[in-house]
Symmetry: C3
Subunit: 341 residues, 3 copies
C-alpha cells in the first residue's frame, strides 16, 4: 500500500519522535494570501517600516500563519485518524518567521491514555517548528483522540504529561530587539496601550464575516493540511468541516477592532474548538482580558486574553448553567500577546 493510512492509537509510543514531511519556504505570497483570507491588520505584520521601527529586521509572517504551517505538517502523522482535537497547551512563539524562511515540524509523543471503551485513545504530542537554521521558531503541545486500528492491540501504560494550565510571564520569549518605546499609535490603528486594559475587561469586536467554502479550503491547503473532512463534501453528512485554525485566524483578525495593539502572539495557554464551523456561519469574536504582566523588553507589556469566536448569539456568553459551551460558541482560546506600554 503506497498511500498513507495515518497512524492509529497503537502506533504511538511514549518518547517517539516524528519528523514531519514537506518543509515549506514562505514568501510574500503567503503573507498576501493570509491578508486576503482574514481581515488581518496588525501593523507589525503589514509594514516592513513599522516592524523596523519596533526593532525587527522586517515584517514577519503573521504568528498564526507560522503556527498553521507548522501544524499542517503534523496532520498526516498525528491527526489523520483523529476523532477529535482535544486541546492545546504550552504554545510559545520563540522567533519571528520572515519571508524566505523554510519551516519544518517535528513532534514528540509525551503522553498516551487508552480510553475505557477500548476503541480510542488520547495521544499527547509536543510539536516544534524549526527554520532552515534548525532554530525552533515555535512549539506547542496538542492532544487528540485517535482511533485504534487493531482493537486487540494492548493498551499502553497511561502517561499524562504535566502541562501548565497557563504559561507564566517569565515563560514568554520576547523577540530579540523588540522595542515599543517609539511605537506609533496612529499607524497601528488604535490609541489603546497596555495600561488602558484592565483585567476582567471584555471587548465585543463587533465585525462579522460569513465564511465561504472556497476561502477556508484555500487557507487550509496553503498550510498543506490534508485532512479529508476539510475538502471532500461527500465525506461527512453534515458538510465540509472547517479547519479549527481557520476559525482561530478569523477571530484573531476580527479582534484587531479593539485590540489593534496586541501585536505579537507569544503564548498559547489553551484552546477548545467548542462546536464545528461550516460555510455559511457568520463568525464574530469577543475578548476578555485575563491577566497582564510586565516584560524585560523596552516599552513592551504582556497581556493574556481569552478570544472567543461565535456563530451567533450574544457576545460574552460562553457556557451554560451546565458548564458546557453554548451551541453558538466556536472557539475559546487563551493566549498571551505583546502590547506597547
Amino acid at each position: 500500500m503506497k498511500t498513507n493510512p495515518g497512524r492509529y492509537f497503537e502506533d504511538y509510543q511514549l518518547g517517539q519522535v516524528i519528523d514531519h514531511a514537506v518543509p515549506r519556504t514562505v514568501s510574500g505570497g503567503e503573507r498576501a494570501l493570509y491578508h486576503a483570507l482574514y481581515p488581518a491588520r496588525h501593523a507589525l505584520y503589514s509594514s516592513d517600516q513599522f516592524a523596523q521601527a519596533s526593532g525587527l529586521p522586517a515584517s514577519p509572517i503573521d504568528d498564526l500563519a507560522a503556527f498553521h504551517v507548522v501544524f499542517g505538517k503534523t496532520v498526516p502523522d498525528v491527526s489523520l485518524n483523529a476523532v477529535a482535537n482535544l486541546g492545546y497547551a504550552e504554545g510559545r512563539w520563540l522567533k519571528p518567521v520572515y519571508p524566505g524562511d523554510t519551516l519544518r515540524s517535528s513532534s514528540e509523543v509525551i503522553g498516551l491514555k487508552q480510553n475505557s471503551n477500548g476503541k480510542t485513545g488520547v495521544v499527547y504530542v509536543r510539536t516544534r517548528g524549526l527554520n532552515q537554521r534548525d532554530e525552533t521558531v515555535l512549539e506547542y503541545c496538542r492532544w487528540v483522540m485517535v482511533r485504534k486500528g487493531n482493537l486487540d492491540a494492548p493498551a499502553p501504560q497511561t502517561t499524562l504529561p504535566d502541562l501548565k494550565k497557563v504559561l507564566a510571564p517569565e515563560d514568554l520569549v520576547i523577540p530579540e530587539g523588540l522595542d515599543f518605546t517609539n511605537y506609533d499609535f496612529t499607524l497601528s490603528g488604535e490609541p489603546h496601550r497596555w495600561g488602558d486594559y484592565e483585567i476582567g475587561e471584555q471587548i465585543d469586536h463587533v465585525d462579522g464575516v460569513t465564511i465561504e467554502e472556497a476561502e477556508h479550503m484555500m487557507a487550509t491547503r496553503l498550510w498543506q493540511n490534508t485532512a479529508k473532512v476539510h475538502f471532500d463534501l461527500t465525506f461527512r453528512p453534515d458538510g465540509r468541516l472547517i479547519y479549527g485554525g481557520h476559525v482561530i485566524s478569523m477571530a484573531r483578525a476580527l479582534s484587531f477592532n479593539g485590540l489593534a495593539n496586541a501585536q505579537m502572539i507569544v503564548g498559547l495557554n489553551g484552546g477548545a474548538h467548542a462546536n464545528p464551523c461550516f460555510a455559511g456561519n457568520t463568525v464574530k469574536a469577543w475578548s476578555e482580558v485575563l491577566d497582564k504582566a510586565e516584560t524585560s523588553a523596552p516599552g513592551v507589556g504582556a497581556i493574556r486574553l481569552r478570544l472567543v469566536a461565535t456563530k451567533g448569539g450574544q457576545p460574552f456568553a460562553l457556557k451554560g448553567e451546565d458548564g458546557k459551551y453554548g451551541p453558538d460558541v466556536l472557539l475559546d482560546l487563551d493566549y498571551w500577546a505583546l502590547m506597547p506600554l
Copy 2:
C-alpha cells in the same frame, strides 16, 4: 469603548488632516492575487522585461491595486458610517508602486455640507497615498454621505471644494523614464495604438465574469477594507454588498479586450457606482473614448476613457430618458490612460 465606532458627520472639520492606520508593504504576492482575482493582463504590469523595455525599473503593481491599498486605509476613518460613496475627482497617479514599497494614506477634509434633512452630511476629502520615502504615489478626492451621530450637533459652514470636472492633459504626471518608442505590440496583445482610437468611439469588451462571494471578499480584505457590508451576510437584507472598487478592477481588467494598450492609468476624472453589485451578477464592460491628448514622453499618448460596468442589458446603454442610470449599470468611470503612439 475600545472598538472603532467610526466618525460621524459632526466629527469632521474643514482642514482636518487624518493620518490613516496600518501601512502596507506590497510584494509579488499582492500582484499574483490581483491577477487571480481579476482577468488583468496589461503587459506592463505582468512582465518585468516589458516594463524595462518601457523605461521603468520593473513591473509595477497594477495602478488600481495601488489605489485600493490607499483607499482601503481610509475606510475606518472616512466611510465606516457612510450612507453612500458619492463621487471621485482629481485622481492622479504620481509614481508607480513596486513590490517592496510600503504604502500609507492621509486625508484632508476639503469640504463639508450638512444635508437639509439634518440627519446626514457630505464630507469631501483629498486622500494621498505615500510610500516609504514619503513620496506621494497617488492622490484623489472623494465625497461621501455620512450619518450624524448627534442630530443636535450644529451644522458646519457649508464649504464646497472647487474640483475639476476633468483633469487637463497637463495635469497628468507621466512616470519618470516612461518611453513607448520601442513598444512591442505583439507582446502587449493588440495592434491598436493611440492613433487608432477616435473620440466618440465605443468598444464592447465582450467578456463577462460572474462574481463569486469568496472572490470579492478576498479582494476587499487584501486592501484591508473593513466595511461590514462587504463581509457579513447578516448585515443587510439584500445580501453582501460588493466593494465598488471590485467592480472598478473587474471592468478595467475586462477592458483589456479592446484596450490592451491603454497601459497605465494616470488620471481619475470622476466615477459613479450607479447600482449595487452582488455575488451572482455577471459583470461586463464597455468603453467610450472621451478625449485624446499628446504628452511630453517619447512615444506616449494620453487617452480619456469612459468605462462602464454592467450586470446585463445591452452595451452602450447608460441612462434612461429621465437622465438616471439604467438598472443594469454598475459603474460609470472617467479616467485618463497612457498608450503608445
Copy 3:
C-alpha cells in the same frame, strides 16, 4: 473592431508562427496561490533547502504552474473559437522555472485537417514557453477543433504531424545538476523509491476535493487564460466549464498521496479531458505505473504514469466495453516523472 474575435480554422497556415501576448514574471505569489488552490506538496516545489539538497539553486515553481502560464497565453490565439481540446503530445519540461523568471509563449502550426462536415477543422500546434533569456523552458504539442468563420473558405491540404505516442526515456531532459543521491525520504513524505514501483501497479490516491467556482476561476485567471466558458455563468446552459488544466493540477496534487516522490514532471505523452468538470464535482484520482526507465542523473529514475481524475465511481475504472471513457472520468493523462532511485 478592436476586440479579439479569435482565429478561425481558415486563419491558420501550416508553418505559421504565432508569438503570444502578455509575458509574465512569476514570484513567490504564484507559488503560494498554487499551493492554496491545489493540495500540492511535492517537497522540491515547497522548500528551497530541499531543492538545494537535490542540486537545484532554489525551489522551482510547480511544473504544472509553468505549463499553465505558457498554455494560458495561447488561448486568445489558438482556442478562443475552439469546440474541443483534442489532445496533447510530446510535452517536455526543459528547464525549471524560478521566482523572478519571465515567461512568454510561441506556437507553430504543425498540422491542419478540415473536418468532413466543412464547418470545423483540427489545428495542431507546437507551443514553446521561453524565459527572459530566450531559453525554452517547456514545449508541447496540442490539437484543437476550431470552428470555421467563413464556411466558403477552401480547405487546406491535410497535413498530420508525426507525433510520438510516447516520449522515449532518452527524449526526457533532466534539469542540470539534479542529484537525488542524498534524497531525504522523511522530508519528502513517503518512503517509496523508484525501485518500489512496478509496471502495472495501480494506486488509489484516496483523497477527494469538491471543487468551488471561486477556486477554479482564480486558478484560471492566474494563468491569464481568457476563455469565456470558464468565467461567464450565462455563457453555457450547463454551467461554468472548468479549465481542463485545473483538473490536471488537482489530480496531480492529489496523487502526492502514494506518489510523493514522483517529484518532477519532465514529459507529457498524452492526455484526454474525458468529460467536462463543473463546480460541485468531487475530484478524486488514481494512477497506474506504465513504464520505468533509468536516467543519466545521479540517483534519479524516470517513471511513466497514467493519472486519472474522476468525479465519482470506483477507482481503476476507465473505459466501458464500448471503448469509451466512463461518465465519471474527467481526465486520462500520461506523463513521465523523476523519482529517487
